[in-house]
Assembly symmetry: C2
Homo-oligomer: 120 residues x 2
DNA sequence: TTAATGGTTGAATAGTTGCTCAAATGATGA
DNA sequence: TCATCATTTGAGCAACTATTCAACCATTAA
């Protein structure tokens, strides 16, 4: 691994510059975890459903058409990644998006997808 | 699966409203694929390295400290998801980020991570 | 206390992913 | 043509993930 293109000083310069643009390992893993959490249809369903209202686990299960257990597992991932937060009310647990960043990101993503194919 | 919280009309209303906020299946899968592509440390390294300059496969392998083959596999995923594009020059293939959206997204993500821990 | 309901958790498992290795492709130049 | 370099590709495999199922926990109400 990590074989370098033979000779050519320009490669070395580009590589050094490129390396400088890459965040440190910890930050990189954090960003990866964040995007990874968004990169799953079930979790995206949950998040889009939560743009605009808080919902309980069983509401989300119904919306995603999956078992309460399956949703609960996914909710834990989203909680751990600090993408959603929750409040308990009697027997119910209500989830909501943690901050406006997430709402923005989700709508920007949709727009990006819609215009994407146009300049293929 | 999809058991509904017994009775309570309010649940039905919330569920119906939530469902309306979820994009259709095709769009959802597209968005998930997009975020999924960003949700991996190796691919993020590639993308951050490409913010600011185009780089060839072997430069990227050197930066990511992985085999050229491993990087090529990841580059294909990023190409397929329309996140990067490329140009061939002699024996080399130079990759670049496909549009400014991606650059913006990567820097916004870094900022979000940096401020995230502050408000718990 | 018991029963019922909403939710979480852990084990099991089928499916997916990321890497390595070896082989193939494509471009360049002798 | 042949050799070499940069890259791509496919198979194989270990590690990871999303779901299901069964068991458990927590709150409410009798």
């Amino acid at each position: 691994m990590t074989e370098i293109c033979r000779g050519h000083e320009e490669h070395r310069d580009r590589i050094a510059a490129g390396r400088r643009r890459v965040p440190d390992r910890e930050a990189l893993l954090e960003v990866a975890d964040f995007f990874d959490a968004l990169g799953n249809p079930t979790r995206l369903k949950i998040l889009y459903a939560l743009t605009g209202a808080e919902l309980c686990t069983c509401d989300l299960a119904s919306i995603a058409e999956l078992s309460v257990s399956a949703i609960s597992h996914q909710l834990r991932i989203l909680r751990d990644r600090k993408i959603i937060s929750f409040r308990k009310e009697g027997k119910n647990v209500f989830y909501r998006l943690r901050d406006q960043h997430i709402v923005d990101l989700l709508s920007v993503a949709m727009e990006h997808m819609e215009e994407g194919p146009a300049h293929g």
